[in-house]
Symmetry: C2
Subunit: 424 residues, 2 copies
């Protein structure tokens, strides 16, 4: 089978190459390119220095598709268009219609800022100057996105701010030169299997025992946020092989599978509650609101999730969740007993059907021999009973908290899935 | 002044070049390299395909320092060492001491997994095979980190998992060849100024009006999470110029400056409370726990932050925060009045000195003409009075929530800074 056309992403920005900010455009464009049937071969991040950017663009133009992010601004530091023209061997021309369009935006901006338009004039001319044959995709601020068709290849220049880049990208796909390029592409099917509770090596072993990848099926196993994600990238025509692979490798690990689409666990939990018209609340100590924040990140979560208590101090655990002084004294705030009392308290006080609690030692201080940093107790309670789990994984504060939050969501999922199964 | 030695980071991983996971190693290494006086010139992300990785390594070895992340595993897909040797023109040799070390780890692993050691033998030999003259930095799992001194240049290969990479990186800096390289480096001083409440263009204008960058002082202005961060990278000897630049450009924007170190606003807020021995609580609706989660992300926050209520439903706003039915009926849950009642309720119910509340329309649904998506009301109340703020910025759900959470923290900061100033 012919390989997918090769694609390169060039990202420019001094703050990106210096690691002061994490680039989001490269991963976004890579996912988009793959989903449209191109092979993302490299993502190159460079600063705004002329030589480095020129080199990156020259290499990028060797690929069938080169997408460049950033460097479209009005100042002399923004060199993408000039260097793209040079790398492509195209003359630069001032586009009078574009000059008028950008001029209009700049005039309004100058007025608002109370500055003379002449301050902006050279910037407008710079931004209205494009390589011969380039198509404008419309403006992001005053910067035009650009598509440039080359001999059997294509270059796209997009603005650096991720929101603007994501807004103009679909327009690039709709241009005539890009549509011709898309005819040569081979969009794969992507299947995402998400597991929780199994180790990465157990999943890898199941895959290997099933004979490994099938022809035209690439499998990547990736531990992310304490879940294991298996991505199958399936070439057109290889769907049957992918089905067979799934049938062979899933049985020993199927009980850990919780999502076959890209729904994160918080969406799965909200869906399980919604199915049964159950309301949900949280009671968090060491996660400090992370569980509630994940649940409420989902649009429409308010029909299930009513709220929660972040009970960081013992006083708030007593006042707001009704955890008894005796429980706290006998077992401590980080205990199975306190976790159970917190969840039950939240269920009663907030008047919900299902509640989940987290209490633990997030560190770096506060650990003891009996209760070390990384010790976490979780408890979920619903109309059909309760489930609890404890674990102790020494790690850094952020990882412990994130891991505990994800474990809390999975605990609710298992509580509800179990009840559902037992009713079948 | 001579330029800093050039450094290139090569990151390998199929899931990274396909955008399935965001690379963290490139930014980490870039920051480290710059802080040690090298100029991070490019970060290249490639998959595990032989040709792409070989090209990236060949280009990387043209730099004074090339750091490679990933591709050190035991399987044939892990090609970093083999291709590094080829790019450097070095033979590969099996290192018997290293073979013994890796073999020991693998034997223990095989035992734990109940698998024969012979399954691992070829992987052990592969991982114990290094380019001539390479130094092992010790193992991450079964993968050795490696330093390879070349003629006036140096290459470092580190494992892909960020925790492992960050653990072995300091060992690379301590090797003899790297120490020699560090003598040629020019560590800059980095000054970080963080602003809130001013626009990026206002900060840029203040900098331009002050004459712009000084010789040996590079300034980057970067909008991040609704704050504006100005980074000054100051060459050795240019400290005086940087001081002068700060004196010239700060006065018109000084009231927006909230941090001169890298402390995020949540740390500043906790610090202000701690100074005055004040306790703090949160009452959140649309942010759903994000404010509490940010505060509790700081180690030791428990001496200030006692907890919070995520009051997502009106019922929880009434029950847990004592917001009156009248307020909710007359003004709605998204109103200045509800925000004030939530903050006051949290202050009273949770028994704290300072409380902050957030209520708003995070969208995408639920907006009306009078209360559109993006409308947020915030209220902070403390021993010396209260402050409130409202804004309406149409955006996506995640941005609205993040922006509201950050605005809430800054509102507390301004409330406390104001009280402090008024006491002087």
């Amino acid at each position: 089978m012919t390989p997918r056309p090769r694609a390169v992403v060039v990202v420019t920005g001094s703050e990106l190459v210096r690691g002061e900010r994490t680039d989001l455009n490269g991963p976004f464009l890579a996912r988009e390119l793959l989903s449209h049937g191109f092979e993302p071969a490299r993502i190159v991040i460079v600063g705004d220095g002329e030589e480095e950017l020129a080199d990156a663009l020259r290499e990028g133009l060797e690929a069938e598709v080169c997408v460049v992010s950033g460097g479209l601004g009005p100042t002399h530091d923004d060199r993408t268009i000039e260097l793209l023209a040079r790398a492509a061997g195209r003359e630069l021309h001032l586009d009078p219609r574009l000059e008028e369009e950008i001029g209009g935006v700049s005039r309004r901006f100058a007025e608002r800022m109370g500055r003379p338009y002449t301050d902006f004039e050279s910037g407008v001319q710079k931004q209205a100057t494009l390589p011969e044959g380039a198509l404008s995709l419309g403006l992001a601020g005053t910067a035009p996105g650009v598509v440039l068709a080359l001999d059997g290849r294509i270059a796209v220049a997009l603005p650096g701010p991720p929101g603007e880049l994501q807004r103009l990208w679909p327009r690039a796909l709709e241009t005539e030169p890009f549509r011709r390029m898309l005819e040569r592409a081979r969009p794969p099917e992507r299947r995402v299997l998400r597991f929780y509770g199994a180790s990465e090596s157990a999943i890898a072993k199941a895959l290997a025992d099933a004979g490994g990848e099938a022809p035209g099926v690439e499998a990547t196993i990736c531990a992310r946020d304490f879940e294991i994600h298996v991505d199958l990238v399936v070439d057109p025509g290889a769907e049957g092989g992918a089905d067979e692979l799934e049938r062979a490798f899933l049985p020993p690990i199927e009980r850990y599978l919780f999502s076959r689409d890209e729904r994160p666990v918080e969406e799965v939990v909200l869906g399980l509650c919604r199915e049964r018209r159950l309301t949900l609340a949280t009671a968090e100590s060491c996660t400090g609101g992370l569980v509630a924040a994940r649940l409420t990140s989902v649009p429409g979560s308010s029909d299930v999730f009513v709220g929660g208590v972040v009970a960081y101090s013992n006083d708030v655990k007593r006042r707001e969740l009704g955890v008894s002084e005796e429980t706290l004294e006998a077992h401590g705030a980080v205990s199975e007993e306190a976790a159970a009392a917190m969840a039950e308290g939240a269920r009663e006080r907030l008047g919900v059907d299902v509640a989940v609690s987290v209490t633990g030692v997030a560190g770096p201080g506060g650990g003891t021999e009996a209760k070390p940093v990384g010790l976490v107790h979780l408890h979920a309670v619903g109309p059909d009973g309760a489930r609890s789990v404890s674990f102790s994984v020494p790690s850094d504060r952020e990882s412990i908290r994130r891991r505990a939050a994800i474990a809390a969501l999975h605990l609710v999922r298992r509580l509800l899935a179990q009840s559902r199964d037992s009713r079948v």
